[in-house]
C-alpha cells in the first residue's frame, strides 16, 4: 500500500521534473503567468464576495440576531449617511490579518452546518462567548477596526461634549484604554456580563440579584 503510493509520487515527480517535449518555453511562461492572474483574480474576487453585507446576512443567524440589533445604532442610521457594514468592523483590512481571520471563520462554517446558534435561544446562550472573542480580538489589535475610521489624531475634542472630551483626553490619548474598553455594545446588544468575565472588567455592569 505505502509502496504503491510512493511509486505514484515518484512517477508524478518524474513528469514534473522532465522538460516539456511539446510546449515551448514561451507558451509555458506566458501561459503560467496568465493562469496565475486568473487564479489570483478569481481567488480574490471570491474572497471579496464573502466580505459583503449580503453574504453576512445570507444566514438567518446573522440576519435575525446581530443585523437587526445593528440597525438602530449610529453605525447604521445617522445624519450623514455613512454606514459601517459587517466586514468593516469584523474583518481586518490588512491582507495577512484578513486571511488569518478567514481561516478562523471556517469555525463559523462548521457552526452553520451543525446549527450551533440556529435558534434565538442558542444564540442568546452563546452570546457572551461570541462577544468575548470579538472583545479579545479588538483588545489585542488596539481596536484597529475602530481606528480604521476613528483616529485619535483626527479627533477634534472641541467638537465633542465636555464629558466625552475629558474622558478621551484622560484615557484614549494616554493610551491607558483602547476604544473597545469603554465602547462595548456599541453596535449590538450586550449580554449579561458576570463580574470578571470581560477583558477589561466593567464592575458597573453587575446586575443586582444575579
Amino acid at each position: 500500500m505505502i509502496r504503491r503510493g510512493v511509486d505514484l509520487l515518484r512517477r508524478y515527480w518524474r513528469v514534473v521534473r522532465r522538460p516539456s517535449a511539446y510546449y515551448s518555453l514561451g507558451f509555458l511562461t506566458v501561459g503560467g503567468f496568465v493562469a496565475g492572474v486568473i487564479f489570483w483574480g478569481g481567488f480574490n474576487t471570491a474572497l471579496e464576495l464573502t466580505n459583503r453585507e449580503p453574504f453576512c446576512i445570507g444566514c438567518h443567524e446573522m440576519r435575525d440576531n446581530v443585523y437587526v440589533e445593528l440597525q438602530p445604532t449610529i453605525h447604521f442610521s445617522n445624519r450623514s449617511g455613512v454606514r459601517a457594514k459587517c466586514p468593516d468592523c469584523h474583518v481586518p483590512h490588512n491582507w495577512t490579518d484578513k486571511i488569518a481571520r478567514k481561516m478562523q471563520a471556517s469555525k463559523e462554517v462548521w457552526g452553520k452546518i451543525f446549527g450551533t446558534v440556529s435558534t434565538r435561544e442558542k444564540f442568546e446562550a452563546a452570546r457572551l462567548e461570541l462577544a468575548q472573542h470579538e472583545w479579545a480580538r479588538l483588545k489585542a489589535n488596539d481596536s484597529l477596526e475602530c481606528r480604521n475610521c476613528h483616529t485619535s489624531v483626527a479627533m477634534d475634542f472641541t467638537k465633542q461634549t465636555r464629558r466625552a472630551a475629558q474622558i478621551h483626553e484622560r484615557f484614549l490619548i494616554s493610551g491607558e484604554k483602547t476604544c473597545i474598553d469603554c465602547h462595548k455594545g456599541i453596535a449590538h446588544r450586550l449580554p449579561y456580563i458576570p463580574a470578571g468575565e470581560s477583558p477589561s472588567d466593567t464592575p458597573g455592569q453587575a446586575v443586582p440579584g444575579r
Binding site: 438602530p72 445604532t73 449610529i74 461634549t161 465636555r162 464629558r163 475629558q166 474622558i167 469603554c182 455594545g185 446588544r189 450586550l190 449580554p191 449579561y192 456580563i193 466593567t202 464592575p203 458597573g204 455592569q205 453587575a206 446586575v207 443586582p208 440579584g209
Partner: protein, 155 residues
C-alpha cells in the same frame, strides 16, 4: 333612563354650535378632526450641566443624551459610569444611598432591584417649549412674601 342621561352628557360635551370646532392645545390648536402637522423632532439636550430641581424630592433629570443606551435585565449602561465603583474613573455623579435601600430601608451592597431601571425616574430633556401654559412656582418663589409685605417674624 340611562340612554337619556348618556345623550344629555354627550350633548353637554359637544360644541355649542356647528361653528365651534373642538381643538386641543396639546395638538397646536388644530381641530381634532384634522390631521396636525407634527413639529420637527426636537434635539435631546446634551450640555452636561446639572439642572436645578423644582422641589427637593425631584429625581434629577439627565443632562446628556442617552440615545441607544442599553438598559435592560442584562445590562445597565448608566451604571457603567454612575455606579459607586466607577465614579473615580468617570467623574460621574454617583447614585445616592437611597438606591441601595430595599423596601424595608436596609442598605444593601448593590443597587436595589426596585431602583435598577433609571429611566423610571430620571429622564433626559428635549429642547422644547412647554406645550401648555404652566404656572408652577418653585417653593423658594412661592414662599417669598408678596411685594410690600414683610415676612412674619418667627416666634
Amino acid at each position: 333612563m340611562t340612554p337619556i342621561i348618556l345623550a344629555l352628557l354627550l350633548a353637554a360635551t359637544l360644541p355649542a354650535s356647528a361653528g365651534d370646532v373642538l381643538t386641543d392645545p396639546m395638538r397646536g390648536n388644530v381641530p381634532i378632526l384634522d390631521e396636525a402637522t407634527p413639529p420637527a423632532m426636537p434635539a435631546q439636550e446634551n450640555k452636561d450641566v446639572r439642572r436645578v430641581r423644582s422641589h427637593p424630592m425631584q429625581p434629577p433629570n439627565i443632562p446628556h443624551k442617552i440615545d441607544g443606551y442599553q438598559l435592560d435585565k442584562d445590562v445597565n449602561r448608566c451604571l457603567y459610569c454612575h455606579s459607586r465603583t466607577r465614579i473615580e474613573e468617570t467623574r460621574a455623579i454617583p447614585l445616592s444611598v437611597t438606591h441601595y435601600m430595599d423596601r424595608d430601608g436596609n442598605v444593601r451592597g448593590d443597587v436595589s432591584p426596585r431602583r435598577y431601571f433609571c429611566t423610571q425616574c430620571h429622564v433626559p430633556q428635549d429642547e422644547v417649549k412647554p406645550l401648555v401654559d404652566n404656572r408652577f412656582q418653585d417653593f423658594e418663589t412661592a414662599s417669598r412674601p408678596p411685594a410690600g409685605k414683610t415676612a412674619p417674624k418667627s416666634r
